[in-house]
């Protein structure tokens, strides 16, 4: 109850005209920057941090928080309309979102993304309001062994479930892991698989690979298969036409609620973040949702899982940041830098010593979330106008965005080379039925997995028993085994039943 009394006080501060305006500006800039390929929330917050230098700390963090979750909304736009995820968490949104665009349902896809983002964001903020310090402490229970088990679960689940045959997904997963192993080994500092190329010492960058595999391969597809892209000319563009019907809202709600809770929890874990949250939630949705089997073909439920999770994770990342001073993601680290720049020391005492600051920030997140959805819905008709542009004009525009976006990730021309290679490989893998998402997930997770493997072994004197003696880790491993074996057993049982039913 105490938390809610503080929250109301926070609302009083957040509702001041200056703070409302900064939340509005932050949310708007976040949406715009999020929709730009290559400029993710990390780059977005870093680029816009200097704008807040001369602001009052409360207004400053409100603006940055607005940029952060505005980014999560914006990332979905280019993913749905152009198949270029604005940032990494939107990768899973692109799968169903773009498939819906191809079926002339871009407006509905955008609406579903916005609604799910709003629900996910609200769940994340509610959890943050009620349980921030408790959850942050729970997040700390996730040591290296637990993280290894969680990451292995994520690895296997997505590899196992994407593609016509699990082998496709698993090969894609390990190709992604191997790409991630290029560069400096995060454990011992050894340089691996670089062939002496100095640009590879710090490893391949994620953004150019995503842009290449989704965006550039899309351009190749447009050129080689021009006829199938005539859909780009015919979408009805109105808010009314984009509204979701009752059936669709019913499909979105359970998925968004579940993914919101899951996403918030993953967001709290150190080093996990919105990308992993959206991957895990999408795969969970594919397994438990009524329309799980249609995920990937363009269903609003798939978009809901991914979008609700990444918005909830963005809110969840604030729990360890504010109550423990631990950033859960790269973007949270930039926010931490901002807090310290304003002379605030995040940690257990921040909620007591700077209560006004903390609670006005949390209150502003409620307001910002509402502002975000209003802006996002208002721009749908303008955004869907993109679909009226003929495919012949779209191809060079997307190509330009691919080049500029991949360069902007690190300001390095080498990333453009990577994007081009990734685009061609992505196109080739697609043609051979290999799904791209497991490759990307493995690419993101491998470095963290390797670091946590090393730490877990070190803690336990080199013995792997740590993975089986810690309850959370063991539970996750059991879940992973069930995740793989249960569908196989069910399939066999079903097959033997069908054989038994057939008349001899």
């Amino acid at each position: 109850m105490d938390n809610f009394a503080h929250l109301f006080q926070g609302f009083a501060i957040a509702f001041t005209p200056v703070n409302l305006l900064t939340a509005l500006v932050g949310a708007f800039m976040g949406i715009v920057v999020g929709a730009m390929p290559g400029i993710g929330s990390l780059a977005g917050c870093s680029l816009l941090l200097p704008l807040t230098f001369h602001m009052d700390p409360t207004a400053g963090i409100i603006m940055l928080a607005g940029v952060y979750y505005g980014n999560m909304y914006g990332g979905a736009f280019s993913a749905i309309l152009l198949n270029i995820p604005g940032d990494a968490p939107a990768v899973m949104t692109a799968i169903d979102g773009y498939a819906m665009t191809k079926r002339r349902k871009a407006g509905k896809a955008l609406f579903a993304a916005n609604l799910a983002s709003f629900i996910g964001g609200t769940i994340g903020i509610l959890i943050l309001t009620g349980l921030a310090p408790t959850l942050a402490a729970l997040g700390l229970k996730f040591g290296p062994a637990e993280m290894v088990s969680l990451l292995l679960l994520a690895f296997t689940s997505i590899g196992w479930m994407m593609g016509d045959d699990p082998k496709y997904g698993l090969i894609s997963t390990f190709l992604g892991a191997m790409l991630a192993l290029i560069g400096m080994d995060p454990v011992n500092g050894q340089i691996r698989f670089t062939g002496g190329n100095i640009n590879l010492y710090s490893g391949l960058t994620f953004i150019p690979i995503v842009i290449g595999m989704f965006g550039f391969s899309q351009v190749i597809e447009m050129v080689t298969n021009r006829m199938s892209f005539h859909f780009l000319g015919g979408e009805k563009l109105s808010i009314k036409g984009s509204l979701l019907n009752r059936e669709e809202v019913k499909g979105i709600l359970p998925n968004a609620l579940r993914s919101g809770v899951l996403g918030c929890f993953v967001g709290i874990l150190p080093g996990a973040g919105a990308t992993i949250a959206s991957f895990i939630s999408y795969m969970t949705g594919k397994r438990v949702s009524k329309k799980g089997e249609q995920f990937g073909e363009g269903v609003v439920e798939g978009i809901a899982c991914s979008e609700a999770a990444n918005n909830a994770a963005a809110a969840g990342a604030f729990a360890p940041l504010l109550s423990l001073g631990l950033p859960g993601s790269g973007t949270a680290a930039v926010l931490l830098g901002g807090l310290m720049m304003w002379g605030l020391q995040p940690g257990p005492r921040l909620f007591t010593e700077q209560a006004d600051f903390c609670w006005s920030l949390i209150a502003s997140m409620y307001i910002g979330n509402i502002i975000c959805i209003l802006i996002a819905i208002a721009v749908i008709p303008f955004l869907t106008k993109i679909l009226k542009v003929p495919a012949g004009i779209m191809a060079p525009i997307i190509m330009t965005l691919c080049v500029v976006g991949s360069y902007a990730a690190n300001n390095n021309i080498f990333d453009v080379y990577v994007m081009i290679a990734a685009g061609f490989i992505g196109y080739f893998l697609n043609k051979n039925k290999y799904p791209i998402a497991p490759l990307l997930l493995a690419f993101v997770l491998t470095g963290t997995l390797e670091k946590n493997f090393s730490q877990a072994f070190k803690i336990n004197g080199g013995s792997p028993s740590i993975f089986f003696t810690k309850p959370i880790s063991l539970g996750l491993l059991i879940f992973m085994v069930l995740f793989i074996t249960v569908p196989m057993v069910m399939k066999k049982v079903k097959a033997s039943k069908n054989t038994g039913d057939q008349p001899g």
């Binding site: 191997m178 004009i393 902007a408 080739f428």
Partner: protein, 144 residues
């Protein structure tokens, strides 16, 4: 072409196993060394690729043919990289976009120019002027 991904994966996996074992090492003291993950990932990749290969051979699956037109966008990208030295990255992108519209899509001079100019204003305005991305300017840019 049908088995190219599997054959490449087996070769890459074997290379990772070899490098992991011979160069980076599997274990160091009480924890993993730089070769641990390459060996594990390489071995699993080889395993699943072999299984995939067997499945494909057994079922007689054929891969979709790769259209030679796929090389057009790749060629355009190479052109952007070449023009980059002269025009800078944004200039190169716009020049190639213009050429694409004019030569491949056969749009009129006016329409091609209009789209290219709008694209330039949007890209330069957002990425260079607002977000301060320091794009390479090329030879011409350095003179200006």
């Amino acid at each position: 072409m049908t088995y190219i991904v599997e054959i490449f994966s087996i070769a890459a996996g074997a290379f990772y196993i070899y490098m992991g074992a011979a160069k980076y090492g599997w274990w160091k003291g009480i924890s993993i060394s730089g070769g641990f993950m390459p060996i594990v990932c390489g071995a699993l990749l080889v395993l699943f690729s072999v299984l995939m290969l067997i499945t494909k051979v057994k079922t007689g699956q054929k891969a979709e043919k790769i259209d030679p037109k796929a090389l057009i966008p790749v060629g355009a990208m190479v052109l952007i990289l070449l023009f980059n030295c002269l025009l800078g990255l944004v200039g190169a992108c716009i020049a190639v976009a213009f050429l694409w519209l004019k030569l491949i899509e056969k749009y009129s001079w006016g329409k091609s120019t209009f789209v290219s100019v709008v694209l330039f204003i949007c890209v330069y305005g957002i990425f260079r002027m607002w977000l301060n991305v320091p794009f390479p300017t090329g030879l011409i840019g350095s003179f200006i």
